[in-house]
Amino acid sequence: MRVQFRVKRFNPEHDKQPYWGEYEVEVESTDRVLDGLHSIKWYIDDTLALRCSCAHGICGSDAMLINGRNRLACKVLIKDLKAPIVVESMRGFRVLKDLVVDMEPFFAKYRAVKPYLVNDEPPPLTERLQTPEDRARYDDTTKCILCGACTTSCPSYWANSEYIGPAAIVAAHRFLFDSRDRGAKERLQVLNERSGVWRCRTIFNCTDACPRGISVTKAIAQLKKALLFQTL
């Protein structure tokens, strides 16, 4: 079948303004939006820039705005969408070229929450023990692939890019609820700052946008609660 795409194009090397590129490509019923974009790039206009790698929703390279929602282009089938398929870069990050945005501020915020296990106690010769129940407490937030879909769907982030954003909070949650971690104090301090969890207005866009099905808003709420009641 043939399908129409409208892709927001912008190359700061020569464009003053973004513009819409209109394309029609032949696709199969199993094709993903990523396949459609590749058909454009490979057979119509190779100047189209996008990031991709694994093509099955695990590497987090190709988050973008598809028909008005943040999705991974490789995790949406074309047949499930209304045509024309409208594709834009994620909102709130600087556009480097077409669908490619500057991810550096995003990763800087991730790094700010100390996204690693903090535990200086000497480890045992074998594994540290952790019950399945303790393991389950942080399971949901281990699934994050750092695609940026949550942060760039968040109106609070659009309003103020100082906000650390849902993805960094998810990373903090993953460690704060891990029984092996000892870094709670420093991490909670970061979350309690003006740029921290309190900027969340519980809008749920992040949860809707997450391609991994993480209950992002719930994780943020758990951290607000932890800060208010000093409990984890």
């Binding site: 057979y43 190779d46 820039a49 695990i58 390279s61 480097l96 594994e127």
Partner: protein, 575 residues
């Protein structure tokens, strides 16, 4: 032109590169270059688990793991290296746990383990629970955990820097040339040591589980710079890729009890591997599927079979296999708890690659002579622990054990080695190649040539091979290479010119396709993943040896290297 100087450069930020970076950066000043962001690396796509004889569920020993790996390799793996792999696997897993990896746990809080293809107790008696896992997202957890530790340890990253050349002169490696994607600028990285950890090259084939990024760039570049490639004829097809898409359905699905069925609903693995059944090694299962299809027992007579998970129950499918359940729902629109999943073999893993010793040092001949300053680890390397066929879970063991060993050797090496001077105009060759592509006025398209190569490789160089077909592929590759000199890219810009990079990647793939096919044509026997219909038997008298392929002005030349055999003498491989 930007100039950088570091003790060591690590190219690739998957499991092997990051594990090496953690080790080397303890004392050396290291920079990691990746053409992606590190968390996009394909280690993250590994699903089922990491094999280590912890014995948490039942008795297990590293010697059994070693035996399984050697037998799984069809006796081509070097047994001294396999011994290191299986012994150090145990410590590697505990180390990951100490770094915070969220493994699944047993009720008493220890690391849970499950069955996996080809892993047995007591030298082949029956399946053993050896694979440590985090649901079916083990690779994701490994990649995240290692990256997190690198952040903790302040490892320096150059994200989206695409390495395009290796600076090797007078038998020593002196650094790399990389293109910065954001600007199109070339950068020289001058270093005492370079580790290649760039992963595989599944994009040689039409149907693959591999990421778009897996185009074997540095393997091809090393080959062009005079490094031989070892055992390239051994390329693994994973039995269960999603039909037509190639997306991996982990062996964990069969480890948890999944069954392969043909059009008659028959559990056909009973006829091919009566003891291990669906958990036989991948080469055998892939061949069995192809044989069923050829004999008309594919589903509806087509080129796929069914993976049956319907008897496992919702709880097992959702809790133990959540990722693949999600893939099946997303891409096939079916519920694996209730419906059969259409699968076909998918190009998955290169057993061959850049030859190295057990410390990751790249070696350049059959006497194991190292090339000073150049290292390789992970899928791009060939140690060789996987021989002619890799067992499931052993790729993750490989990246951790040999990534760490390479990292450790690098910090010892850079402490004593001098920084060798750079060659004259180090970026000149790559600058002229880039100009040639950008200024090309031909009519050929990169996508067309790549598609033809992938189709040809899939048709004639995959699970079954024979002389005439391989020769046809070689001839066709020659034609494609000729045509690739006349490609044209529209994008002449600097920033994120991925059209230019895809053109360069096509060149790497064509090189690797040629050496793969030529190596396969030369090996007139069947062993592991390399199955020659015209030579269906393993031939230990003539072929119990590693291939070393060299690029010469007269084409590819072969030398051969003996296999190291210590504990287990080659036997017929039955499961």
């Amino acid at each position: 032109m930007m100039y950088h100087r570091h003790d060591a450069i690590i190219v690739g930020a998957g499991g092997a590169g990051l594990r090496a970076a953690l080790e080397a950066s303890a004392t050396a000043e290291v920079a990691v270059l990746s053409k992606l962001y590190p968390t996009r690396s394909h280690t993250g796509a590994a699903q089922g688990g990491i094999g280590a004889a912890l014995g948490n569920m039942e008795e297990d020993r590293w010697e059994w793991h070693m035996f399984d790996t050697v037998k799984g390799s069809d006796y081509l793996a070097d047994q001294d290296t396999v011994e290191i792999l299986c012994r150090e696997a145990i410590e590697a897993v505990y180390e990951l746990e100490h770094m915070g990896l969220p493994f699944d746990r047993t009720p008493d809080g220890r690391l849970a383990q499950r069955r996996f293809g080809g892993h047995t107790r007591n030298f082949g008696e029956g399946p053993v629970q050896r694979s440590c896992y985090a649901a079916d997202r083990t690779g994701h957890m490994i990649l995240q955990t290692l990256y997190q530790q690198c952040i903790k340890n302040g490892v320096r990253f150059f994200d989206e820097f695409h390495v395009l050349d290796l600076l090797i002169e007078d038998g020593g490696c002196r650094g790399v040339v990389a293109l910065e994607l954001a600007t199109g600028d070339l950068h020289i990285f001058h270093a005492k040591a370079v580790l290649l950890a760039t992963g595989g090259f599944g994009r040689l084939f039409k149907i693959t589980s591999n990421a778009h990024a897996l185009t074997g760039d540095c393997v091809a570049i090393a080959f062009r710079r005079g490094v031989p490639l070892e055992d390239m004829e051994f390329y693994q097809f994973h039995p269960t890729g999603i039909y037509k898409m190639g997306i991996l359905i982990s062996e964990a699905a069969r480890g948890e009890g999944g069954i392969l069925r043909n059009r008659d609903g028959e559990r056909f693995m009973q006829r091919y591997a009566p003891t291990l059944l669906d958990l036989a090694p991948r080469d055998m299962v892939s061949r069995a599927i192809h044989a069923e299809i050829r004999e008309g027992r594919g589903i509806g007579g087509k080129d796929y079979v069914h993976l049956d998970l319907t008897h496992l129950g919702r709880d097992v499918v959702e809790k133990k296999l959540p990722e693949i359940s999600d893939f099946i729902r997303t891409y096939l629109g079916i519920d694996p708890v209730k419906e059969l999943v259409p699968v076909q073999p998918t190009a998955h893993y290169a057993m061959g690659g850049i030859p190295t010793d057990v410390d990751g040092r790249v070696i350049i001949d059959e006497q194991n002579t190292p090339l000073p300053g150049l290292y390789a680890a992970g899928e791009c390397a060939c140690v060789s622990v996987h021989g002619a066929n890799r067992l499931g879970t052993n790729s993750l063991v490989d990246i951790l054990v040999f990534g760490r060993r390479a990292g450790r050797h690098i910090w010892r090496f850079v402490r004593e080695a001098d920084l060798l001077p750079l060659p004259f105009e180090p970026e000149a060759p790559i600058r002229s190649e880039v100009s040639r592509i950008l200024e090309g006025t031909g009519r050929e398209s990169v996508a067309d040539l790549r598609r033809m190569m992938q189709q040809e490789m899939m048709d004639k160089t995959s699970v079954f091979r024979e002389k005439a077909g391989l020769q046809e592929v070689l001839d066709h590759l020659e034609e494609l290479r000729e045509r690739s000199r006349k490609i044209r890219v529209q994008d002449k810009g600097h920033s994120f010119n991925t059209a230019l990079l895809e053109a360069l990647e096509l060149g790497y793939l064509l090189d690797l396709a040629e050496v793969t096919v030529a190596s396969a044509l030369a090996r007139t026997e069947s062993r592991g993943a390399h199955y020659r219909e015209d030579y269906p038997k393993r031939d230990d008298v003539n072929w119990l040896k590693h291939t070393l392929a060299y690029r010469t002005p007269n084409g590819i030349e072969f030398r051969y290297k003996p296999v190291v055999i210590t504990r287990f003498h080659p036997e017929e491989r039955k499961y």
